[in-house]
Structure formats: C-alpha cells, structure tokens
Assembly symmetry: C2
Homo-oligomer: 365 residues x 2
DNA sequence: TATAATCCGGTAAGCGCTTACCGGTAAGCG
DNA sequence: CGCTTACCGGTAAGCGCTTACCGGATTATA
C-alpha cells in the first residue's frame, strides 16, 4: 500500500488517471492549475501523483506546449589546466551563467549548458544539437563568427554576450566604451597625465575592438597623446601584458605616463613586468585594469579598474531572450552601465573618493 | 533563392520533405543515418535541410525515442559573495561538472544544470521539475536528505556524488577513507608522530563522516593516540579551522603532534592560526589538508594533502548514470582512488619522494 | 416542477518526430 | 521472358501531454 505499483516502464498521466479514477484531462488540469476542479477531484489526483511519484514528462509537455522551458548556454572552456590560476575568465563565465540562471528561474526555465574547448572542431554541430533541445540560445563572447551567428539565429532565437547584434540575433553587453572613457578622463582630467598607452586584448574579441576604439577616441577628445602599434597587442593574459612591457622597454621606447590595460589580468602582468625593471606604479607610470577581478584590490598598488555587472548581464540576457521567445520582440542591443573603481594604481591616494571630472562612467554613447 | 522561405511559425520535418520532394520518413531516415537511402534522396534532403536551416525538435525526438539525451545536474551555490575568495568549493563543482560534460558528450547528452542556494526553500520542487526534463539526475554532495534522494530516485535515475547509494539510487565517490588512512600512515609510520588530531568538516556532510571515521579507525590501527571532541568541529572553511585552533589553544590544551584537516581550506585557517600563536608548522605541529586546491602548493609550508580525481569523478558519474538509463543496471557504489600528495607541511623535506610505508592511498576497503 | 444557465470533466485531436509495415519498382535468376 | 528476391521509400501509428469541444449533472430562475 505504501509502494503500490512498482513503476513498470514509464509512468504516464494515464496511470495517474486510473489510480485517481478520473480522466487524463482532469489530471492534466489539476497539475496545471487550470479550470476549477472539484476539491475531491483535485485531492484524488494529488494523492495519486504522490503515491506514484509521478512527474510529467518534459518532452511531451514541451511538444504539446511548443515551449521547452530550456535555454541553451554555450561558452568556451579555458584549456584543460583548470588548476593553473590565471583562469579568472572562467570565473566570470560562471558568474554570468549564474545571472542567466536567476533570470531563467523566474520563468521556470533551466539552463542547458555546453562548453566548447578552444580547439574543438565540430562546434557548429554541437551548437545545432543544443539548439534543438532549447527554446533559445545564449552565446558567450567569441563563440562563433558573425555569419555563424546569423545562420544559427535562423534556426532559433539567439542572444550574444559582449558581441553585437545581427539582423536575426540580439545582443547584450556592458558599456565597455564608457568604462574606457571614464578611465581616460580620470587619468587625464583628474591626474593631468598627457600621454597614454593601451595594452589590448585578443585581436579577435569584439570587446577588445570596442575598448581600443573608445580609448583612441576619448584620448583624442581630451587632448592626450597616445602611443599605439603592434607592440601594444596583448591577449588578455598576464603573460601577454608582461610581454608587451618587456618588448616596449627593450625597444628603448619611453613609456607613456599612464597605461590602460584591456583587463585586470593584463594589468597584473604589466605591473609585474614594470616592477621587475624597477619602474614604480603609479609614481612613474599609472596603470588601470578592466573587470575588477577579486585580486584587483589586493595588488600592489591596488588596481584602479572598471567593474562590469556580470550577473546582471546574464540575467538581462535571459530576459531579452525570453521576450524574443515569447513575443518575438526583444531589444536588438542592450547596454549595461559599468562602474569606475578608483584605487591606487592610477595615482590616487589610498581611500580616495570618487573622481571629480564631469560625467564619469555611464555617460556618452 | 538564398533565403527561400522566411520560417513562418515552426519549421518541421514536413517542410523539409516538401521542399526535398520526398516523404517525412525519408527525411527522418537521412537525418538519422538509418536505412540505405539512394544517393539522390540523401542529397535532396540534405540540401533542403541546409536551405531551410532546419533543426529537429528535441522535444519531439525525445518523446518518440523515449530518450531526451539530457542529464540534470544539481548543486549548491556558495552564498552570493562569489567574489570573496574562500569559494574554492564552487571551483570543484565546476571541475566535476566539466567531467560530467565530458562523459555526456561521448553519448550526445547535454547538461541541464540547476543550482540551489543554501537557503532556498522549494528545493524538492525545483529538482522534480528538472527531473521531468532529463533522463536522469546527478546530485552533488549534500543536496537532499537520504529519504529525499530515495523519493527522487523513484521518479528518475539518480546518481549521487560523494554520498552513499540508496536502494534506488547509485553513488560515485572518491575513496576518502583511503586518503585519510594514507595520511595517518604517513604521519605515524613515516614520521613517527604518536598523537593526532582531526579538524572535521560540516557535521552534515557524509564525506566528513567518512573521513572522521577513517581517521579514528586508522589511528587506532597504527597505535596513535587521538584527541577528539566537539572542539574539533570545523566547517570546511578557513575561519572554521582557525577557530578550532584558537579554541583549543585558549583552553590550554596541548596540541597533538600532527593535525589532519577535513579539507585544504581548513588547513589554511589552521596554519594561519598556528602562525599567529607562534607555533611552527611542521616543526611543532604537522598539518595535512584534503583536496589539493590550487593554492595548496603555495602555502608556507606547502601543504601535504590528498588529491581527488574530480574530473574523473564527474565523468564516472555520468557513465554510471548512463548505464542505469540505458540498461537499468549500474554499479550501486563506485569508488575512485585518491592520491597522496606529499609536500612539506607534514615534516617532509622539500622535494621529497613518495612515502615509504606499505600500501599508501588506494588500498583498504 | 420545468427550463435555462453553469459547471465539471470526459473524449479526442494534435504537437513533431521515429519506425513498423507494406507496396511498388528494379535487379537477379532460371 | 516470367518469376523471385531486394531494396527504397511512403503511409500511418504512436510517444505523453494539453486543451478545444461537448455532453451530463447540478443549481438557479420562473
């Protein structure tokens, strides 16, 4: 009586209906809270469900409802050396995914995740497979080429993160441009530095292109001179940052008074390389990062950087995707504001207050 | 012609069949590689699929095949302060999940993940919802009570991680007992320490109970005296470890010659607290950890600990689940060997070789 | 008490796919 | 050249669920 029927094969709504002595329609209605079943009917159904440990099959529900309540998330895995520090990036991915999940849970969606190695070949195939199992897809940075995204968006609603919208896909990103502009203004307007440099990220990252361009434009706007060229090409890693500095120094170039870095990791490498050569930060050269990773505040000196609302990014991405899924709409490009975090690597004294220059992060287009 | 039909509503196999001028059966067969279609048939289908950007609906396939090719993964999120260091644990979760994914991908499965906050209320409901969307579930440590697991396993195949099997659910774990035993033997047999202590983890963790018990048993087996009691109760955190030491010291107890810690985080706190009181590791007290987190090797002194094959754990969990799903079988309890990592916190000299005592980690039951 | 309005709950169709079954055509054989 | 054997590919059933539609029972209204 406690264990009435030892689940032979699959348990269906018919089994529940039988046990409860009602029709499958009633079972379905009770389970969905539709209609107004008689109290007794409801009770009998609920009891049968409980006694049988019944769970509705998601596939059948999805087929009938035309909604799977599943969102696919695709991202790149760092190499296999997950244990070798440096992998802050995957932490961000995790935070963003968490944000997506928060948004998703509000709508009863779950996350179907698929990570792709840097050298996986059949990425497109894997993503297509995912597409079939989800109502829509969220793609992290640098997952697919623009045409790849466009093609994918033909099959299923797609939201990209930190990219740019295509005719069929939506995009959500943080306001990288504003972040860089805020940094430039702080360095030039508040500190009076006249010469700047920018250690860039991977050349193939849209994010990086945005940052580079904002750097050049804003520097020109505030009348600072900038040092550029292939020597400034980093790759988002500490080693890349250190390498840029060493190359620069070896070529006996004079370093600019302030150097912006594409991300905190890069800044870390830059600061380290500078220290090796006996160059003081921020006395000789001011440094800024981007991202505000956990260790940023513990660097020597504590790193002035830009904080991106990662979790909100994920949540927003889901919301946008959801509106596309349910209504077919959705804003093509959503931009989230970033926050300037002033610490000491820019030359500000410990415990300093926010910058004084007009309109810090968040302004501008 | 390039963009033939602007996907009105949902694209189905009928649309493909129409366009290719064949029947839906042929389309399905081509897409599944079943039967031996004529070359021309195959080509026409493939072309139509390409031109329409068609993807088969996963829900319909799942319903028809009785297989969703989705595995649900449930785990606990650390608090919301993801940015406050200390959260190594979620890193492990991530590595394990990665392992699950590796296993899953071999079978064309994807991961449906659902994380649960420490104070979420409707955990059971959320998990049940997941169950409907997946072919089986993998539960990380401490997700559900034993009866909760048993009930869940009534609805869907369940594999627990680092727990213990129930009549209906399977379990995969690392050989914690062996790890602790190897540590005890190393400390007692190789170093000659006669008195030991064990700073435990959360009381509600099955893993912790296993470790505690192994500690007591093995210590007795090799004839070492042990110090126990509520004062030794930690909670897997550095703060917890430090707290245990402070309490112990404040009560003017004499510390044992060697202290095993429930995990590396705890060891970290313990070493820190010891240093604060001027007690030297390993000269005055030897310390060991468990897990081998990334920082373990960078501690002062480098931490002797146990490495668990996290990724293999995940992959194995999937394999076990898969065999249960497909064949109904599956080993009830799978135990993976762990590895003793000897560094300096136990008293070994830098760059020392593996321990000499007979049968290190991996032996015993 | 007869009739209309209301309310429940059952029957059956259909979601998009896979596949058993079967008929038609081409190839093999005597 | 006629019959058997293969081989393709089409038709239709069914996977488990939701829900439109409808009929019977109940209650309200006259």
């Amino acid at each position: 009586m406690a264990e009435p029927k030892k689940a032979k094969g699959t348990l269906t709504i018919y089994d529940v209906a039988n046990r409860a002595g009602v029709s499958i329609a009633s079972v379905s209605r009770v389970l969905n809270g539709q209609g107004s079943p008689r109290a007794e009917t409801r009770d009998r159904v609920m009891r049968a469900v409980r006694e049988l440990s019944f769970v509705r099959d998601g596939a059948a529900r999805a087929l009938s409802n035309g909604l799977k309540e599943v969102v696919g998330v695709v991202f790149r895995r760092g190499g296999e050396e997950l244990f070798e520090g440096e992998d802050e990036s995957f932490l961000f991915i995790d935070v963003i995914n968490r944000g997506i999940e928060v948004g998703a849970q509000r709508r009863g969606f779950d996350l179907l995740i698929s990570s792709v190695g840097f050298n996986d070949d059949n990425v497109a195939a894997r993503i297509a497979a995912l597409a079939g199992k989800a109502d829509g897809l969220i793609l992290h940075d640098r997952m697919l080429s623009t045409v790849g995204i466009a093609r994918l968006a033909d099959m299923v609603p797609v939201v990209t993160l930190a990219g740019s919208p295509t005719p069929a896909s939506l995009n959500v990103r943080c306001d990288n441009g504003s972040g860089i502009r805020a940094l430039v203004r702080h360095l030039v307007l508040d500190h009076g530095y006249r010469s700047l440099g920018y250690v860039s990220g991977r050349a193939d990252s849209p994010d990086n292109r945005t940052r580079s361009r904002a750097f050049e434009n804003e520097a020109a706007a505030v009348g600072a001179t900038i040092d550029t060229g292939p020597a400034w090409q980093g790759n988002y890693s500490a080693a890349g940052g250190a390498n840029v500095i060493e190359t620069l120094l070896d070529s006996r170039k004079k370093l600019p008074r302030a150097i912006l870095c594409a991300n905190d990791q890069t800044a870390l490498g830059v600061i380290h390389a500078l220290a090796q050569r006996g160059i003081k930060v921020p006395q000789d050269v001011a440094i800024t990062g981007f991202d505000d990773v956990p260790v940023a505040r513990h660097l020597h000196p504590p790193l002035t950087t830009i904080r991106q609302p990662m979790k909100e990014l994920g949540a927003k991405a889901f919301d946008v995707l959801y509106s596309r899924i349910s209504a077919g709409g959705g804003k093509a490009d959503t931009v989230l504001p970033v926050e300037l975090i002033v610490r000491e690597s820019c030359g500000c004294p410990p415990g300093s207050s926010p910058p004084q220059n007009p309109s810090p992060a968040g302004a501008g287009t």
